[in-house]
């Protein structure tokens, strides 16, 4: 699934996926370097728990389960992340300082019946 990240937005090609293996192909349109993190959570995408700094997400919080991440995608580059996602709600976000609160988050839903007739 193609995902575009830029200052300060994450735009997935689709918000509903079928369960099983998925490859995220993440392209950074810049101008900054970004991270790409996938976390399973029941929380709303703009309500993830923050660290004490109040600016970045607490990735160790029991309220979310990080299932995969790309540490760094430089402007103009594309990186891929292959995951096997069971059905559920996932939030895609960038956790560089000020990026998540600046709007870099998106919700995707993985359904066992998605894409089937």
């Amino acid at each position: 699934m193609a995902v575009t990240v830029r200052d300060f937005r994450i735009t997935p090609q689709s918000t509903v996926l079928g369960g099983g293996p998925v490859v995220f192909l993440v392209h950074d349109r810049g101008p900054s370097t970004h991270e790409f993190i996938v976390a399973q959570t029941g929380l709303p995408p703009d309500g993830l728990p923050l660290r004490p700094d109040g600016l970045t997400i607490d990735e160790r919080s029991p309220q979310l389960h990080v299932v995969g991440e790309i540490d760094q995608i430089d402007v103009g580059n594309s990186e891929s992340l292959a995951l096997r996602l069971p059905p559920g709600r996932y939030v895609l976000f960038c956790n560089l300082e000020g990026h998540y609160l600046g709007g870099m988050h998106a919700l995707i839903e993985v359904r066992s019946d998605a894409g089937r007739p």
Partner: protein, 259 residues
């Protein structure tokens, strides 16, 4: 015969000329490359230093806005002016003033290199404008704004984005500098070529010396004139065959003796 000798000398002189010219070009290139690498390193160090100061200034601006809103003495406008001027200087070059005497005024050269560095510095400038606009809103309405808490959070978020983007630009600058490491190898290659040119010049000089000696010997040995070569102390170092033939003095008897 003479024409042939002259031609040989001309060829030798030309070879000398070519090698000396090559040597001078190589020396010029080595000096030029070193100067360029040194200037680049200086610019990178300055940008890293100024960018670090920019992060501290953004934090101080936010703190001063909040202090001013609470009625304390603070001058966020001064911070804002410095932030804007520095962001502009990082992008297009210019003078950066010292922050309250904590460091020295510096001059930054325009960023003309990596497009990624330029893109990130442009973004930093945009974010600083956004930070100052948000700060002005907080200063203007203060606690009377129903949106005060949200505005303060926005201020902190944009401040963090400035910090993150500045770090990013510094990282990109370091990476761009690392890509200039090939200049070191170019310098080494040029140095080796210079050494080879020096060796070639030495060999040519030696050959020219041997040629001159051979020419001298053939000229003197074949002549009927009596020729004796003395050193500074008057000792006989050489005598022509004609001396032996005319005077009967054997070279083995007279060489090394004072005249």
């Amino acid at each position: 015969m003479r024409v042939g000798r002259n031609l040989a000398r001309l060829r030798l002189d030309r070879r000398f000329g070519v090698i000396i010219a090559l040597f001078l070009v190589l020396i010029g290139l080595i000096v030029g490359y070193n100067a360029r690498a040194t200037a680049k390193q200086r610019d990178t160090a300055l940008i890293i230093n100024v960018a670090a100061r920019q992060r501290a200034l953004a934090e101080r601006y936010i703190k001063d806005v909040l202090l001013k809103v609470e009625g304390y003495r603070a001058d966020p406008q001064e911070d804002a002016a410095m932030l804007r001027d520095t962001a502009q200087a990082l992008l297009v070059g210019g003078d950066v003033l010292a922050v309250q005497g904590a460091d020295a005024d510096v001059h930054i050269s325009p960023t003309t290199g990596d497009w990624k560095v330029v893109a990130k510095l442009r973004q930093e400038r945009t974010l600083i404008d956004k930070l100052i606009t948000t700060g002005n809103g907080v200063l203007l309405f203060g606690h009377t704004s129903p949106d005060f808490d949200h505005q303060v959070l926005q201020l902190r978020v944009i401040g963090a984005q400035v910090s993150s983007t500045t770090n990013d630009a510094v990282g990109e600058t370091k990476q761009a500098e690392a890509s200039l490491e090939h200049l070191v190898w170019v310098g080494i290659a040029l140095g080796l070529l210079g050494a080879l040119a020096a060796i070639a010049m030495g060999l040519l000089l030696r050959r020219a010396g041997a040629q001159q000696t051979a020419q001298f010997r053939s000229l003197v040995q074949g002549a009927s004139d009596l020729v004796t070569v003395l050193d500074d102390e008057g000792r006989i170092r050489y005598q022509s065959a004609s001396v032996e033939a005319v005077l009967g003095l054997q070279s083995s008897d007279v060489l090394g003796r004072k005249l």
